[in-house]
């Protein structure tokens, strides 16, 4: 099972494999290699295959380095990369791996006849997946194999990205030194680079939306943003980046708001591009407006008066 542990170092089997790693792993040379491999996995390039234990050590060191770097976007990127690799690997792995891994995150998982698997609500909530759209009934959730893989993707991402167990106080200075070297080489956030916003995205209300919407208004905020993007002829790819940024800015609230939700709105609006941009709707939904200063509002007023 060493392969399993190395492929899924964040699982409890992975932790077991890592139990006996002592200080010997923390040589400057080893930390540097791990840092390079971390960058490779973040950019999607394949690292030359190494032994099971070595791969597991890479994982531990990467998280230590990320904690020392302290940039949440980098941590998220690494966590997403690891989660993606893990789920992709499941496809080519023995059938039993999916269940073994799933048990690690969702101990209550059971095979069911109709929909493949059921999971208890408490487990599901612990995995960090959103509940709002989940197939919930009597404290159980039901999933197909493919849905379970997606669930695991989120659960892995959350576990890998949670660095609260890494104690910065006990790390030797060498790690911070390596982190400092590594930081400028981290993939830059490509968000909005080379992107030219147009008339609608520059409206005061849309600018305010882009800075984040309050809970209860986040869905309509994403809608307004998506429509503005379509009207401005923003390529969908850029619109998705804007949605990502919007979700980050709107994430605060008593219930989480995920990039996925914002991106889904973009998807929907780009499939239905004829939707009009309605100032009234934006006002009705309680999004911040500044119609007195708004070129569009003034333009529309002039048209009405003409």
């Amino acid at each position: 099972m060493d392969d399993f542990a190395a492929d899924y170092p964040f699982s409890s089997k992975g932790k077991e494999l890592l139990k006996n790693i002592g200080k010997e792993a923390l040589t400057p040379q080893r930390v540097e290699t791990a840092g390079q491999r971390m960058l490779d996995s973040m950019t999607g390039s394949r690292t030359t295959s190494t032994g099971a234990r070595e791969r597991a050590v890479d994982y531990v060191l990467a998280r230590i380095l990320l904690a020392a770097i302290g940039r949440p976007s980098a941590t998220r990127k690494y966590a997403a990369a690891i989660a993606k690799q893990a789920v992709e690997k499941l496809v080519e792995s023995p059938e039993a791996y999916l269940e073994t891994l799933a048990k690690d995150f969702l101990p209550s998982i059971r095979p069911t006849e109709a929909s493949n698997y059921s999971v208890s609500l408490a487990d599901y909530l612990t995995s960090g997946n959103p509940l709002l759209y989940a197939p919930l009934e009597k404290g159980q959730l039901f999933f197909t194999r493919a849905e379970l893989a997606e669930l695991l993707y989120n659960a892995i991402k959350n576990r890998v990205g949670d660095l609260s167990s890494v104690s910065l106080k006990t790390l030797p200075p060498m790690v911070f030194e390596a982190a400092k070297q590594l930081e400028p080489r981290l993939p830059k956030e490509k968000l909005l680079s080379g992107f030219k916003s147009g008339k609608y995205l520059e409206l005061p209300c849309i600018k305010a939306v882009r800075a984040g919407a309050a809970e209860g208004r986040r869905y309509y905020g994403s809608m307004a943003l998506a429509i503005a993007c379509v009207k401005d002829g923003v390529p969908k790819e850029d619109a998705l980046k804007l949605a990502f940024e919007y979700a980050e800015n709107s994430a605060k609230g008593s219930s989480p708001y995920t990039a996925r939700e914002a991106m889904q709105t973009i998807d929907w609006v780009y499939r239905n591009p004829s939707i009009g941009f309605s100032c009234t709707k934006i006002r009705e939904q309680g999004l911040p407006t500044e119609c007195g200063n708004c070129p569009l509002a003034n333009e529309r007023k002039r048209e009405r008066n003409a």
Partner: protein
């Protein structure tokens, strides 16, 4: 902790003295206490809801002695369990987990269905109670799979209801997980476009079918399905009109009712073309009908204190009474949460004009006028500062 009793008593008005003496006799005959009392932090209020907190007790007797000695007007305890409940600051307490608690106190004052009574409004109490039943039955039991013996429901003593879920699984839920439950219940972020999708099956523009939840759906998909399905099944002219559905559209729906319903059961929401706006209206209606407003912070804040069940509420003198779910339907706070002698009466001078409905009577109050009222009414008005004792 200061002893608030001795000093404050000297300055108490006659009314305050009566309230205090009646609270004392209540606690002399009835001593509420929470499960796992020694692991709880307590808070007590004498002039407001919580004047002192971070208090703990080593036994039920200690706690009762304290109640009888101090006669607090408000008694609250932590939904959380701690190793050292009285330690401060919070992170020294040693958090061990928390009950899952919901607080319902939506204001229905302006719901347009009634003339609100600012003295005590039976209609508003009834509306919140309906929410409470829905939260318990539709969400906690049906969706979350809570069993009835893990659920305690109590009247808050004022305008709402509290629901406590106690089991090992919920105890370990993080604040984040509790927020997920809230997001599910309130559904404010529910994106309805996710439930109906166009499935293209051919090259031509019209080669598509609209897919939606089927009768086998679960979670919110099921709730949306149920509302839409039952509307199509039962709607008559009046209901169509209420939803602003045109009479031509309504006629088409009525003529094709059976086929629409059959197809819906299979997840095909496309038996009749041009239904987009009807579906949108019905899905929105479903969210309004089936979602609930709850006080979120009470649920996700793991260090909250909440009113002790079966204790007295200092703003009303009513008991924060525990009620089994199957008796909730008939429960009326102004009749069934009364704490004091129903035969005893007192003379009071009212500060308000209006009707107080309590203990099965309607008492007409006039500002500045003296009136003899039952003790429960007197204490209620004194606690609310709507009267003086004469």
């Amino acid at each position: 902790m200061p002893e608030p009793l001795a000093e404050s008593q000297q300055h108490d008005s006659l009314g305050r003295q009566l309230v205090r003496s009646r609270f004392r006799s209540f606690y002399a005959r009835s001593q509420p206490y929470p499960a796992e009392l020694v692991r709880r932090e307590f808070g007590f209020g004498f002039t407001k809801k919580i004047d002192y907190r971070h208090k703990s007790f080593s036994s039920r007797n200690d706690f009762t002695d304290y109640l009888l000695l101090e006669i607090p007007f408000f008694v609250s305890y932590s939904t959380a369990l701690y190793e050292k409940p009285s330690a401060t600051p919070m992170n020294r307490k040693g958090y061990l987990g928390a009950d899952l608690v919901f607080d319902l106190d939506t204001s229905y004052e302006k719901d347009g269905e009634h003339e609100h009574n600012p003295i005590l409004c039976p209609h508003c109490l009834e509306r919140v109670k309906e929410d409470c039943i829905r939260l318990a039955e539709d969400f906690l039991l049906n969706d979350f799979g809570v069993s009835e013996n893990e659920l305690t429901i109590n009247y808050s003593g004022s305008k709402g209801y509290h629901l406590h879920v106690q089991n090992q699984a919920v105890r370990q839920l993080s604040a984040e997980a509790r927020k997920q439950l809230l997001s599910y219940i309130t559904a404010t972020e529910l994106d309805l476009t996710r439930f109906l999708r166009k499935e293209q099956f051919g090259q031509r523009k019209d080669d598509y079918v609209i897919r939606g939840p089927s009768w086998q759906a679960r979670g919110w998909a099921k709730k949306l399905f149920t509302t839409a399905h039952s509307f199509i099944e039962k709607a008559e002219a009046k209901e169509f009109k209420e939803e602003h559905i045109s009479s031509q559209r309504a006629k088409k729906i009525t003529e094709n009712r059976a086929i629409i319903l059959n197809k819906m059961n299979e997840g095909n929401w496309d038996a009749l073309r041009g239904m987009d706006s009807v579906w949108e209206k019905l899905l929105r209606k479903a969210v309004v009908l089936q979602s609930l407003e709850v006080d979120k912070a009470v649920t996700y804040d793991l260090h909250r204190l909440i009113r002790l069940e079966d204790s007295l509420h200092g703003d009303t003198g009513f008991v924060a009474k525990k009620i089994p779910l199957n008796q909730l339907h008939d429960f009326k706070p102004h009749e069934h949460a009364l704490a004091f002698d129903e035969k005893q009466t007192h003379w009071i001078k009212s500060n308000v004009t209006g009707t107080l409905e309590i203990q099965g009577q309607k008492i007409e109050l006039t500002e500045g006028k003296l009136i003899e009222v039952p003790e429960n009414a007197a204490i209620y008005l004194l606690c609310k500062q709507k009267a003086e004792l004469k």
